[in-house]
């Protein structure tokens, strides 16, 4: 686990800055990051007990990215991401219970147990998944932005993807499309340094991913993705740009995942020291905590948030185990919607 006290230097620097987030906003961000962290730890534990199956990609370490971004969005904006999606769902306000129950494959899950860890959605919260094919969500994200342009509203879409995904061809096609049609799309590269076992410098000839949209004139920034305040400041610039109808924006978040790629990755491609150093010197929770204490928030207030989050997470784990498996009838639902005028029967399936 992360060290208790962050280095003094970081604290002094942060306190000297004029934070883009007020005390209450930062406190909220801290709580949201903590919820993701504790939720993911619990998910890892349930996986080890065999209650969660298949692939399970934890977001631990990267919490500041999604929380800082989400704080700049408003209801009706859309979010889409990869399979490393639990944090994004919690950040958009989806219920911990429904997410955890999907992880255990139960009827109480967001996809009624049919999608699992990588595939959850909430139209109500503007969360469009949860996608397993690396890079696919980037074009889809451009499509969410396209819908905003088409409808003439001022909503923005945020498409999150890894630095590994950033090499996929369809990402570049999407950047061109977004710039060409001035789509209100924020492309967020979550550069956690590795795509599975391949480090970014072994996968990409580009040394500054924030400039990957430059051929099309897409403004890009490199951001300290381990600090929720700097993330939030950048998010606000990007959102303002998109809402003003100036087209897409690209943010490269420098971040880090503490765990393996998925549960079955022994992560032998990096040293334990490298991981330890990130946890001890750059942990987003510790950084936010230090800023809050610097602003006069008390340990007792933080402890209260801690307890609150623990209750939510434990409740979600209980729910995820009590909720029953989906009934057999769920096998055949949701394959197609009934056509207008049809009796709604499953028309084309071979039974």
């Amino acid at each position: 686990m992360a060290a208790k006290a962050p280095p003094a230097k970081r604290r002094a620097k942060s306190a000297a800055e004029q934070p883009a987030m007020g005390r209450d906003a930062l406190l909220q961000a801290y709580r949201d990051m903590l919820l993701i962290r504790r939720f993911e730890e619990k998910a890892g534990q349930l996986y080890g007990m065999g209650l969660i199956g298949g692939f399970c990609h934890l977001y631990i370490g990267q919490e500041a990215v999604v929380v800082g971004m989400q704080a700049a969005l408003k209801p009706g904006d859309q979010v889409i991401t990869s399979y490393r999606d639990h944090g994004h769902m919690l950040a958009t306000g989806m219920e911990a219970r429904g997410v955890m129950a999907e992880l255990t494959g139960r009827i109480g899950g967001y996809s009624r147990g049919k999608g699992g860890s990588m595939h959850m959605f909430s139209r109500e919260k503007g969360f469009y998944g949860g996608h397993g094919i690396v890079g696919a969500q980037v074009s889809l994200g451009a499509g969410l932005a396209f819908a905003n342009m088409y409808r003439g509203n001022d909503h923005v879409a945020v498409a999150y993807f890894g630095e590994g995904a950033s090499n996929q061809g369809q990402v570049y096609e999407s950047l061109n499309l977004a710039a060409l049609f001035k789509l209100p799309c924020i492309f967020v590269i979550e550069n956690n340094k590795y795509g599975m076992g391949t480090s970014v410098d072994r996968a990409s000839a580009s040394r500054d991913l924030s400039q990957n949209g430059s051929p099309w004139g897409i403004p890009g920034e490199q951001v300290d993705g381990m600090n929720v305040v700097t993330v939030h400041e950048a998010a606000q610039r990007a959102v303002a740009h998109c809402r003003a109808g100036l087209g897409p924006y690209l943010l490269e978040m420098k971040t880090y995942r503490y765990r393996g790629h998925s549960m079955s990755d022994p992560a032998k491609y990096r040293t334990r020291e490298e991981v330890q150093k990130m946890r001890e010197q750059h942990d987003c929770l510790e950084t936010a905590r230090a800023m809050l204490l610097g602003q006069g928030v008390t340990e007792a207030e933080l402890k209260k948030l801690d307890d609150e989050v623990k209750v939510i997470v434990q409740d979600s784990a209980d729910f995820a185990q009590e909720s029953p498996e989906p009934p057999e009838s769920e096998l055949w639902t949701d394959v197609l919607l009934p056509s207008p005028g049809s009796d709604g029967a499953f028309g084309q399936g071979v039974k």
């Binding site: 147990g113 397993g132 094919i133 076992g197 079955s264 022994p266 784990a317 185990q321 057999e328 769920e330």
Partner: protein, 444 residues
């Protein structure tokens, strides 16, 4: 109150593992996040981190113990403070989709297949690696590219040791750019090089399917025979375990549909080794469909250095007289189990391992149908326009008059793969369905 530390599941298909090493001893204080032990699965050595804080009071499973079941208690922790309540599993945890522990021993080869002499036991994983290594030693134009194939030794550890032996020029890690690197490999093959392209799983070949079909499969024809494409596309195909709809599907009928491609689907280690060698030597594009769950399964495999199997020949894995069961890849194992069950009920089933879907060994199939007069086809994939549909049609075309019952197909359900453990089980072919199908065509 102490907390039990349980043997964790570390991968989708893990049911047991070896407790390789304890890094803490009894009496040691443990913090959450501390590495307490190392566990070996068939794929990798993994570190086990403590979830709770406390003192390690008892080690229940000594280091070096093999085959420790997932969820078995391995140690006890005396929770220092208030225990963070490691929740006890309420219901029996959904078993990680069980790979059948035993594979019915293939009875001695009954078809007129060449006898390759002595064999040894090896996993499908080792067989695939050995096949690539042998062909790379033989031919300097053969090279392997794909995601995680070099430094990581393969996402499923198929290319173990190849980087060491052949170096970074011939074993190359690719960025996640399937469409691009597939096109690159096809282009290289047009010049006569012989790339092996690993797709981490065939699901990701969808990113590249245009280059596979429009470039690799058709260019020989379009160029009037000038530009051949000696290339192998290989990787895990079909259902894995609990990975949901985008990561669990069978591409056999997708690729078998296309003229200009060969499509091979091995079951045993011998199939894997012999057919992969043939695929690499073949002057055409070959789709080589492996199966993740089979990777860790062991079979007998000939040790002869020249061992190779022809593409386009099926294998009669078990002889019978009452019904023919046609299967490929992991479903051959299920067909063999079904034959065993049917034998108990007095029904003699012949099991044919298709091995190659295109070209299809229709002669072997027809010979069998002429003998048994009844057919069941078995595949994991979807039924609509599936391999079973094609087999039935070809049998009708070739030997309709020999059929005493309409062919029956057993297949995966006609739906995207659900994630939930209970639904996933129901979505895939089950042994009793095969047995029932065989009984129904024999009218018993």
């Amino acid at each position: 109150m102490g907390v039990e530390i349980l043997m964790p599941a570390l991968s989708p298909t893990m049911t047991e593992g070896k407790l390789a090493k304890w890094l803490k001893k009894e009496g040691d204080a443990v913090k959450a996040g501390d590495v307490i032990a190392e566990i070996e699965t068939d794929k990798a050595t993994m570190e086990v981190e403590a979830v709770d804080e406390g003192t390690l009071t008892r080690i229940l499973v000594p280091e070096g113990t093999e085959n420790v079941a997932v969820n078995a208690p391995i140690a006890e922790l005396d929770g220092g403070g208030a225990p963070k309540a490691a929740p006890a599993p309420v219901a029996a945890p959904a078993p990680v989709a069980a790979a059948p522990a035993t594979i019915p021993a293939a009875p001695r080869a009954v078809s007129a297949e060449k006898d390759w002499g002595p064999t040894k036991t090896m996993t499908v994983r080792e067989a695939l690696r050995d096949a690539m290594a042998a062909e790379m030693r033989r031919d300097a134009d053969v090279f392997l590219i794909g995601e995680e194939v070099a430094q990581y030794q393969g996402a499923y550890k198929i290319s173990q040791g190849l980087l060491d032996e052949f170096g970074p020029k011939r074993v190359m890690d690719m960025p996640i750019t399937e469409h691009g690197f597939t096109g690159m490999a096809v282009g290289a093959a047009f010049t006569g090089l012989k790339p092996i392209v690993e797709f981490m799983t065939f699901n990701f070949s969808m990113q590249a399917i245009d280059q596979i079909i429009n470039s690799a499969a058709k260019t020989l024809y379009m160029s009037g025979g000038q530009l051949g494409c000696p290339i192998v596309f290989r990787g895990a195909n079909g259902a894995a375990s609990r990975v949901a709809a985008q990561h669990s599907q069978c591409y056999a009928s997708w690729y078998a549909h296309c003229p200009g491609l060969k499509v091979v689907a091995p079951w045993s280690a011998a199939d894997a080794k012999g057919l992969l060698r043939a695929a690499i030597r073949d002057p055409n594009p070959v789709i080589f469909l492996e199966n993740e769950i089979l990777y860790g399964h062991s079979f007998e495999c000939p040790t002869d250095e020249d061992f190779i199997l022809p593409i386009g020949k099926a294998k009669v894995e078990r002889e019978g007289t009452d019904v023919t069961i046609l299967a490929f890849s992991i479903m051959v194992g299920m067909a063999m189990q079904a034959a065993e069950k049917l034998a108990e009920q007095g029904i003699s089933a012949e099991v044919i391992n298709l091995r190659s879907l295109r070209p299809l060994d229709i002669d072997t199939i027809v010979a069998s149908v002429k003998k048994t007069n009844r057919v069941v086809t078995l595949e994991e994939g979807w039924p609509f326009a599936g391999i079973g549909a094609e087999l039935a049609m070809q049998i009708i075309e070739h030997c309709f008059d020999d059929l005493d019952a309409p062919p029956v197909r057993v297949h995966g359900l006609d739906i995207p793969m659900p994630y939930a453990a209970n639904l996933e089980k129901l979505a895939l072919p089950r042994l009793e369905q095969v047995v029932d199908a065989a009984r129904s065509v024999t009218y018993r």
